[in-house]
């Protein structure tokens, strides 16, 4: 038993080492940082402990803006992208011809560098000295007034932001939902058809309950993912997100840590801990709700 035990630990050793250094230790360390006041990374000194860092972050208008932006992104993109992905997956599962072609196309954004595509979105939406941009020209074509989506009003920027976020997260959701739909036994649908069940009723009474575990999985991971939004914002609005007014909580953490306004690991830690608390709360609520609703 001793020999077997030591052998098992040997297999686990590399994983434990890496996780210990880069996951467990930092986990405790970030809480330590977050209560060390006035930490200086160059001299590695600080002059006191307390909750001042949290207080600073919570009173920082940039942080509050970031929280507001993050929540808007979460609330808009998670339900919309899930519902839309479900619609597309349903459509995909009810056609036969060209199905694989569509699936491949829909999966494309998943395997591309989101930063690069983000730049294309920026070009499409941006107004420059030379051109109003594709999207604005379309708006003008239909008689609307052009808006600068990248440097213009807040709602316009938020619209592009959410639009791009949905575009980016769709492939994964479509993938998961299509396979969930495919795993529902065809006999259930045949039985329902023979019983003259209307399409809508088949959807609400059979399809949805059958795939509800996967939908809740997508909603939970969608929430977590959307709360961590950052690189998509960078792709659209550049690295100085505070100036654009489009920063997110994660962006705030990174800016505090490093970058133009960086060098404050304590503030960064406090913000990170706050983010973790928010995500944890939302996830718990999600799990509670889904525990009540997911029927197996």
């Amino acid at each position: 038993m001793i020999r077997r035990t030591s052998k098992a630990w040997l297999y686990l050793l590399p994983a434990l080492l890496f996780l210990g250094f880069f996951m467990v230790y930092p986990l405790f360390d970030v809480f330590v940082y977050s209560v060390e006041e006035g930490y200086n990374s160059a001299s590695q000194t600080y002059f006191g402990t307390g909750l001042y860092n949290y207080s600073y972050v919570l009173h920082d208008p940039y942080f509050l803006q970031a929280v507001k932006n993050t929540f808007i992104i979460v609330i808009i993109t998670v339900p919309l992208s899930t519902a839309f992905a479900l619609a597309i997956s349903l459509a995909l599962s009810s056609v036969k011809k060209l199905k694989e072609l569509y699936q491949t196309v829909f999966f494309l954004p998943y395997v591309t560098n989101t930063l690069a595509v983000g730049l294309v979105f920026m070009i499409l939406f941006k107004k420059t000295a030379y051109t109003d941009g594709m999207v604005n020209l379309l708006i003008q074509l239909f008689g609307g007034k052009s808006v600068d989506f990248i440097d213009g009003p807040y709602w316009a920027k938020m619209f592009v932001m959410c639009f791009y976020t949905i575009w980016v997260v769709m492939p994964f959701k479509i993938l998961i939902l299509t396979s969930a739909l495919a795993s529902v036994n065809q006999d259930y649908y045949n039985a329902a058809r023979v019983d003259a069940t209307p399409k809508w009723r088949i959807f609400t009474r059979i399809t949805l309950p059958m795939i509800s575990p996967m939908i809740f999985y997508l909603i939970i991971t969608g929430f977590i993912g959307a709360f961590k939004a950052y690189s998509d914002e960078v792709a659209l609005f550049g690295t100085d997100l505070n100036a654009a007014g489009m920063n997110t909580i994660v962006g705030y953490v990174y800016d505090m840590l490093y970058g133009n306004s960086g060098g404050y690991p304590s503030y960064a830690s406090a913000a990170a801990v706050l983010l973790f608390a928010i995500v944890l709360t939302i996830t718990c609520i999600n799990l509670l709700v889904s525990g009540r609703n997911v029927r197996t």
Binding site: P14, Y25, V95, F276
Partner: protein
């Protein structure tokens, strides 16, 4: 009901079904266009000359004078080749190291018996809930203290493990029937040999999936490389693109 009624119902049903099918295809095609359009635009812009791009108030959907000049510029004026090499080194090294770390760990959890296994596995699972943003601050400090900023090691080390993939692989390993392990033990096969000769071949699809996912993840990673590198000799493609954009790189590059 008589026959004409039936014919009416049958005809109506067939018509409705055809209309539904057409609707579905229209819907799917619209989204496919939405997905493809940015890619098309990226390609199109990359072969338009700078002057042509700037002179089009209404952007054209095609170009009659495609040029590869932008690509030449991208590889000569910016060390794009260097970024690509870096990304490939980073991706391959990280993925390979991760495999070496997670396969034995998943094997230990799936097949070996040892004291404290359940407790340890529970701890592992609880780590899955920890967002990387929480630990990135200390990791940044650690790597800085170790003097590994602007090195490949600094890029690679924190991305080597993944609790989720260990979990995924462990579940997959456990699908292999116990009898195979017992049979191998009776034949005197060592654990390591069993892992290499039996488990890995059987679980190859999962291993391939994990590899692909990790490669995509590495290829797209932006945040950690941005933190840890400010020397453009160590930029990855995503950082390179962003840097080009931030510094007002004056001409149309493949990514613009």
């Amino acid at each position: 009901m008589n026959n004409t009624d039936y014919q009416k119902i049958a005809l109506g049903a067939a018509r409705r079904e055809r209309a539904g099918k057409i609707g579905l295809y229209v819907f799917l095609t619209l989204w496919a266009l939405m997905v493809l359009f940015p890619f098309y635009w990226m390609l199109l812009t990359s072969v338009k000359s700078y002057s042509a791009y700037n002179s089009e108030y209404v952007p054209k959907f095609f170009t009659l004078a495609p040029t590869l000049q932008n690509y030449v510029d991208a590889f000569t004026l910016v060390p794009l080749a260097r970024y690509f090499t870096n990304t490939i080194i980073f991706t391959l090294a990280t993925t390979a190291m991760m495999m070496l770390v997670i396969v034995p760990a998943a094997f230990a959890f799936a097949r070996l018996e040892f004291r404290g296994k359940n407790l340890l596995f529970t701890l592992f699972l609880s780590l899955m809930m920890i967002p990387s943003e929480l630990v990135v601050i200390t990791n940044f400090q650690t790597i800085t203290n170790w003097g590994m900023r602007n090195t490949f090691w600094g890029l690679i080390l924190p991305s080597v493990t993944s609790v989720f993939y260990i979990y995924l692989l462990k579940e997959n390993f456990e699908q292999i029937p116990d009898e195979l392990y017992k049979a191998a033990k009776v034949d005197g096969t060592s654990d390591l040999k069993y892992l290499l000769r039996v488990m890995i071949p059987i679980c190859r699809p999962t291993l391939i999936t994990i590899t692909i996912l990790k490669i995509i993840e590495c290829w797209n990673s932006y945040v950690w490389p941005r933190l840890i590198t400010d020397n453009e000799n160590y930029f990855l493609v995503s950082n390179g693109i962003q840097a080009i954009r931030e510094n007002g790189f004056g001409w149309s590059s493949p990514s613009r």
